[in-house]
């Protein structure tokens, strides 16, 4: 009964979405404020219905109702409760339900928190948002019904893919979708602006918090995915330039560009058309990501069972929204008033530079990702791997990285490049010092890596020194500096943290890519191997049983300079429901300067095992950097100017002005 309620709520939500799309739009055409206001309760009702639907599916999972096909295919009664819940979105149908629920969540949030929005803009935004929702609801209902029943319910389910029974991957999709789907709000705002033919500073100020929220979640989502791939797959790596990874990275790049270009619209009234276009592109890339991941047109190491037919439907959605929005753009753009052209050396000039690099870099990733499809059309199959992306993406990023500290130091309208450079002397000095130290410590193994680490340090110190400079540190007494630091807008701290995160990420990714060590050896129990100064003794393998799996647990004893440091237990697990799919659990020792990483492979003769050793220096900085970036986004989001949303029209003073 509960399952049918969920299904019914899903269909009802589609009908509500239809109403939310059509009625307010008609109302705005007829200038009927009552019809226009229908959008608000409709958006709320849509969220409530989808919540009911989602909870119904969750109920089916928690109670292990195997008469539901989706539950049967992806769950098992012996699975721990946490993974029963996360199993809801660890499959195509359930994850699409989560996707539309988040879509309606954003719609309802705009309806509820967008009090300051002009009624027509709000109406149009909610109407477009409903159209996006509707398309995915139809997709769900007609091709991917999660509530489908089985006539003769089996006794137990097939269990969830063991790789997905993991904490980071359980919470990875919700964050990722909050990101992907969050960009739909910017898209709806862009389309609404095109319909109305008006973009102004207020528009940008309304769009920015939504974009920021989506961006924060996407950043966390991608970082979680990368972290999971690192510790779960046993390959020692954190990013493989795989199509599925790129699918999430491209909207991130475009979204990062959007965050920065919206600033220019807000502060200077320029870059309007570009920002609109970027909003459309960012969401289109999110949709394209959904298409690439679910259709399986590209060969991916991360691909789970995929279905080309459903892919076609998503491709249709993508074509409809991207094509429609771009056509609208082409039609309406000439009517939008353009901002003036501005000085290249200025804050807005720096932001344009940021956009230029990010969008072009995103383009190179796009070409590399889709290239196999192009050549396949000409009859030969290829794959584009990491070397391509390292060759194209990385060099393009370097000028941007060097420019980051300059951006916030340049004034709007007309910046002083020399003045900004002078303020970065400290950052550059410290960076040069670090380059020299790194170069000598690593005994000159690599020329490029110390330089790149220097760039990372320079970004971090540069971001801090910008804040200090604005607080007049070292130039006035410290109580005044403290007061200035306290009064500084949160958005300034937000951008500081965002940029510090980038710097830390750069340091971590360079260090681990260049100086990691890898060793694959066959070890018999009792033998010892030395990796990066650690002596690792193999103490044999024991069998153990978990709640829904059995495992071969290896014991390793780690010592350094004769001192016992840790015992590590990498394992091979076999889940009872998917015995054909053993999986690797890694053993990681986390030292201050990096990770000692162990994974065991196949059993060889005489009780020997293949063992993979890695030492990944400073790899944690990669995810730490991402977290700090996300934190920067959150701090920025808490800025009062964004929270209250819009510059309200000054209310007429309630105190009557005495008549002359």
């Amino acid at each position: 009964m509960i399952v049918e309620t969920g299904h019914f709520a899903l269909i009802l939500a589609a009908i509500v979405a239809m109403v939310q799309f059509a009625v307010p739009l008609w109302g705005s055409y007829k200038s009927d404020p009552i019809l226009m206001r229908v959008a608000i309760p409709a958006a709320q009702a849509q969220l409530i219905l989808l919540l009911i639907s989602f909870l119904a599916l969750m109920w089916a999972y928690v109670t292990s109702d195997f008469s539901v096909k989706n539950v049967f295919a992806n769950s098992h009664s012996a699975k721990p409760l946490f993974f029963k819940i996360s199993g809801v979105w660890a499959n195509h149908e359930g994850s699409m339900l989560l996707w539309v629920m988040i879509l309606s969540f954003y719609g309802a949030m705009v309806a509820m928190f967008g009090r300051n929005l002009p009624p027509t803009l709000k109406t149009h935004v909610l109407s477009i948002q409903a159209l996006v929702s509707l398309s995915f609801l139809l997709f769900l209902i007609f091709t991917s019904n999660p509530f489908e029943r089985i006539v003769n319910p089996p006794m137990d389910g097939r269990g969830l893919n063991p790789l997905l029974q993991d904490f980071a991957l359980a919470i990875h999709p919700p964050f990722l979708y909050l990101g992907y789907v969050g960009f739909s709000v910017a898209f709806s705002f862009a389309v609404a602006a095109l319909i109305e033919g008006r973009v102004d500073a207020a528009w940008a100020r309304w769009v920015r918090p939504w974009t920021l929220l989506a961006w924060v979640n996407l950043t966390i989502g991608i970082a979680l995915g990368s972290w999971w791939a690192y510790y779960e797959l046993g390959w020692g790596g954190w990013w493989f330039w795989d199509p599925v990874e790129n699918a999430s990275f491209m909207p991130w790049l475009a979204g990062t560009a959007l965050l920065h270009s919206a600033l220019v619209v807000e502060k200077r009234g320029a870059l309007k058309l570009w920002t609109i276009l970027l909003s459309i592109l960012t969401f289109s890339l999110s949709l394209m990501g959904a298409f690439l991941v679910r259709s399986g047109v590209l060969s991916s190491v991360h691909a789970f069972a995929v279905d080309p037919e459903r892919g076609i439907f998503i491709l249709g959605i993508l074509a409809f929204f991207t094509g429609g929005a771009l056509a609208l753009f082409a039609w309406r753009a000439p009517d939008l008033k353009q901002g003036g052209i501005f000085a290249p050396i200025s804050r807005e000039g720096a932001l344009v530079f940021n956009n230029l690099i990010l969008v072009i870099a995103c383009g190179t990733v796009l070409i590399g990702t889709l290239w196999p499809l192009v050549t396949e059309a000409f009859g030969y199959k290829i794959s584009v791997g990491a070397p391509y992306f390292e060759l194209t993406f990385a060099p393009l990023m370097i000028p941007l990285l060097l420019a980051i500290p300059f951006g916030p130091l340049l004034a709007w309208k007309r910046g002083d490049l020399r003045g900004a450079a002078q303020r970065l002397y400290a950052a550059a000095g410290i960076a040069v010092l670090v380059v020299i130290v790194t170069f000598s410590v690593t005994s000159g193994e690599s020329m490029v890596a110390p330089l790149l680490i220097g760039v990372g340090i320079y970004i971090v110190v540069g971001a801090v020194s910008e804040i200090l400079w604005r607080a007049k540190a070292f130039r006035t007494d410290w109580s005044e500096v403290g007061r200035r630091l306290r009064n500084m807008p949160r958005a300034s701290y937000g951008s500081m943290f965002g940029h510090i995160g980038v710097g830390i990420f750069v340091i971590g990714s360079v260090a681990t890519s260049v100086w990691n060590t890898e060793k694959i050896v066959a070890m018999t129990p009792g033998s010892t191997q030395t990796v990066a100064g650690y002596e690792v003794r193999f103490d044999g393998v024991e069998e153990r049983k978990g709640p829904n799996f059995s495992e071969k647990l290896a014991n390793f004893n780690v010592t350094k300079n004769g001192k016992q440091i840790a015992t590590l237990h990498p394992a091979k697990r076999t889940y009872i429901t998917r015995s054909a799919m053993p999986m690797t659990e890694t053993g990681i020792y986390n030292a201050w300067n990096g990770d000692l990483y162990l994974a065991i492979g196949d059993k060889l003769q005489q009780g020997a095992y293949t063992v993979r050793f890695y030492f990944n220096p400073f790899i944690r900085l990669i995810w730490l950097g991402c977290l700090i970036m996300a934190l920067g986004g959150l701090v920025s989001l808490s800025d009062r100017r964004l929270r209250i949303g819009a510059p309200k029209l000054a209310k007429k003073s309630p105190v009557a002005v005495p008549a002359e």
Partner: protein, 154 residues
């Protein structure tokens, strides 16, 4: 700076970055793409030793041999032609005889494919599209595989 100079400064920066990006892309695509061949393609296209490519097909039943230490040999087949593969390292968890596989490496002079990586996958029901289509072409694609995939979701 005049308005005109500002505009041209912007345009030139933009075109400059774009030109760098385009040349990087062309350079990258000319040297860093990897062809995908099935065992039959190797004969048809006369792939030379030393060229890096991806080999895809089914792991032949009974062909997996574990040698000294971490060395492994197996055979990849598309049921028309078969290629011997040698690999040193850890096979992915889902490596199995009779199942699809994609390996990366080069042919040596004796015609053995020396793989430096054997690609893993995350799901027992997933078949890389290249392998699937080359098997379909050879007519050895079993339809039950596609059925198993459908309705599994994710």
């Amino acid at each position: 700076m005049t308005r005109k100079q500002r505009r041209s400064a912007m345009i030139f920066t933009g075109l400059g970055v774009l030109a760098v990006a385009v040349s990087l892309v062309l350079w990258g695509l000319s040297g860093n793409i990897m062809f995908f061949y099935s065992p039959s393609d190797l004969v048809e296209k006369q792939v030379q030793p030393g060229q890096r490519f991806r080999l895809g097909g089914l792991v032949e039943e009974g062909s997996l041999v574990r040698g000294q230490s971490t060395k492994i040999t197996f055979k990849v087949t598309d049921n028309a032609k078969t290629v011997a593969v040698s690999f040193e390292g850890v096979l992915p968890d889902l490596f199995r005889e009779g199942q699809g596989v994609v390996a990366e490496g080069k042919l040596n002079t004796t015609g053995v494919f020396v793989a430096d990586s054997v690609l893993a996958k995350h799901d027992e029901n997933y078949m890389p599209p290249e392998v699937a289509s080359s098997l379909k072409k050879k007519g050895v694609w079993k339809d039950k595989d596609t059925k198993a995939v459908k309705g599994m979701g994710s």
